[in-house]
């Protein structure tokens, strides 16, 4: 009897998980199908849309990579993301370290204050920031994005790193300082190597957050060759009213998968930041 019940429980579990996986992943399965289907197969309403009724094709991928600006979008995204990562690290690492180490009451408050600025949404800031970048002559330039993206990476990453630095016992660096290292030396040679996983997390988040960003890129950039993937694909691969679904889905899929794989590995740490490190 208990065995039958266990099997029923397993069955229930897999059914439930199956339904959730279907709900979450179906749009991406749908992209895979459209990426490799011939146009004729895609646009015949009577064909079973879930299967390949005609042999698969690489035409959409070829069109995407050779006849559109897709590679340029990928390159722009990569360039912006990497520069934003560097800026974020330069600003957030020292700030987080100082807040975690020297600050008592006011530091905690300041840390929370910095985190709260993460909740001020781009949808409130984009109008003044659009004027701001125009004033600096940066409209239609990737530099406008590089200047503005740290508005969401710095607050969140500072907060995240603060949590990481707090988990490293003070004794370790104090011992290093007794052994003759300066405060800076201790930070650089002892603390930073220990918090490498925290720094890596920040690298991943600063990059993915930049890659996901939509509203600033939509507002600041209208020249096709300056667009990033997240606006280039939905805005530019649609020619007039004609949706080129094959290349469009291919473009969405190719850009989504690598970043999703990396992000999944770091998701737990990201969430630890949201829950204010309250749950260990």
């Amino acid at each position: 009897m208990p065995n039958a019940r266990k099997i029923a429980g397993r069955g229930g579990l897999y059914t439930l998980l199956g339904m959730f996986v279907f709900f979450s992943a179906f749009p991406f399965y749908w992209m895979v199908i459209a990426t490799f289907k011939t146009d004729h197969d895609l646009f015949t309403p009577l064909n079973n849309p879930f299967l390949f009724n005609e042999p698969a094709t690489l035409d959409h991928l070829k069109l995407l990579f050779f006849d559109t600006h897709y590679l340029t979008y990928l390159w722009n995204t990569l360039a912006v993301g990497l520069v934003v990562v560097v800026i974020t690290l330069i600003v957030a690492v020292p700030a987080a370290y100082a807040l975690a180490r020297w600050a008592r009451g006011w530091g905690e408050m300041l840390g929370i204050g910095i985190f709260l600025t993460y909740l001020v949404p781009p949808t409130i800031l984009f109008i003044p920031l659009a004027r701001f970048t125009a004033f600096l002559g940066l409209q239609e330039s990737l530099w406008s994005l590089i200047l503005v993206y740290p508005t969401f990476t710095i607050p969140f990453c500072t907060w995240l790193l603060m949590g990481f630095f707090k988990t490293i016992p003070k004794d370790i660096e104090e011992q290093a300082m007794i052994d003759g290292l300066s405060r800076f030396g201790a930070m650089w040679k002892v603390v930073l190597p220990l918090s490498i996983s925290g720094v890596l997390t920040v690298v991943v988040f600063a990059f993915t957050l930049s890659m996901h960003e939509f509203i600033y890129a939509l507002t600041f950039i209208s020249v096709s060759v300056k667009k990033t993937v997240s606006i280039g694909v939905p805005e530019e691969l649609v020619r007039g009213d004609v949706f080129q679904w094959g290349p469009l889905m291919a473009g969405a899929l190719v850009a989504s998968l690598p970043v999703a794989i990396v992000y999944t590995f770091f998701l737990d740490r990201f969430v630890a930041g949201f829950t204010m490190g309250a749950v260990k």
């Binding site: 959730f20 700030a95 949404p121 003044p128 509203i215 694909v233 939905p234 794989i261």
Partner: protein, 317 residues
């Protein structure tokens, strides 16, 4: 500025001298972050308030204060009122679903089973992939002619035949009919936030001390009772954190509506963020755009306050 005493007496003397220099160093290290945040978040926020009180346009962006005229105009505009209502409706409905579904999903993911990493990867996709690209997938699924949902409905005979339950037409036009368009947007909102809420809930569930549940079981508490008396009260703060972040992200999101419907058909799915964009940037009326966006602020401030309170309570646990 009390500092816990260091046990080694040799260090104590040295510390007194270093402390001042360290204070200066600390300020120096924090300064760039603060300066950047003030310049790029603080100043623009104030600027946004100034714009909302002015008559600035893209053509003439100089700020001349005209009072609360833009807010009054916005409140009189039926499209704005609809946007405000939609924003609240989409957020509340989607996030109620998200809280329930994420709890269910988190409970399932807590169990051991084979292939967990791939299940996790697939379930997290809506949050880990760029949102605009995921939404494009939905746009193709809601296509007015080639929607696979319509195909299935036709296949099982619910659509496209005379006398069929959902009508004799071949398609439902998900994004072309107000009620369906609203449901579609809410569905994608749920889809988008579910992974984030699930991971937060998972963190909460796995933080419950196992011996507490075991002790209750030994004492003869039924699974229901254990859930009701232990799991739910202990995870309430973290569940509310999941809910509140879901509210913030959905309330301020522009992408889902922008990519799926652009606010259509005839503004029936317009939300505050898209309406801000269409009036402020595409329409060139910076002042009105800023005023519309600022209507988001009271709710965000309230949510921030509640998040802090919930976070403090989790720490007590």
């Amino acid at each position: 500025m009390s500092r816990p005493t260091v046990s080694d007496p040799a260090v104590d003397g040295a510390h007194a001298g270093i402390r001042d220099r360290e204070g200066a160093l600390a300020k120096l290290m924090i300064a760039p972050a603060i300066l950047y945040i003030v310049a790029m978040i603080g100043v623009p926020f104030v600027l946004s308030i100034l714009y909302s009180l002015s008559d600035a346009t893209t053509g003439d962006p100089s700020i001349r204060i005209v009072g609360l005229r833009n807010f009054a105009a916005a409140l009189k505009d039926p499209v704005f009122r609809l946007s405000l209502w939609n924003t609240v409706l989409f957020t509340l409905v989607s996030q109620c679903f998200v809280v329930l579904l994420s709890r269910l999903l988190a409970t399932a993911l807590l169990k051991q089973f084979r292939g967990k990493w791939i299940v996790r990867f697939l379930i997290m996709l809506p949050w880990t992939a760029p949102i605009s690209l995921g939404t494009i997938g939905w746009l193709w699924m809601f296509d007015s002619i080639f929607s696979p949902i319509d195909w299935v409905l036709r296949y099982v005979g619910l659509l496209g035949a005379p006398g069929a339950l959902l009508g004799a037409g071949t398609n439902l036009y998900y994004l072309g009919i107000p009620g369906l368009a609203i449901s579609s947007v809410i569905l994608v909102d749920i889809w988008r936030i579910l992974p984030l809420a699930t991971v937060i809930q998972l963190a909460g569930l796995s933080s419950i001390p196992r011996d507490l549940l075991e002790a209750a079981e030994v004492d003869g508490a039924t699974p229901w009772r254990r859930t009701l008396m232990i799991t739910i009260p202990l995870t309430l703060p973290i569940t509310s954190i999941a809910f509140l972040f879901g509210v913030v992200f959905t309330f301020t999101d522009l992408v889902v509506v922008y990519v799926l419907t652009r606010g259509g058909p005839v503004n029936t799915t317009q939300v505050l963020s898209t309406w801000t964009f269409f009036r402020g940037i595409e329409g060139g009326n910076l002042a009105e755009g800023a005023a519309i966006s600022l209507f988001m602020f009271p709710l965000l401030a309230a949510v921030a306050f509640l998040i802090l309170r919930a976070a403090r309570r989790t720490e007590v646990v």
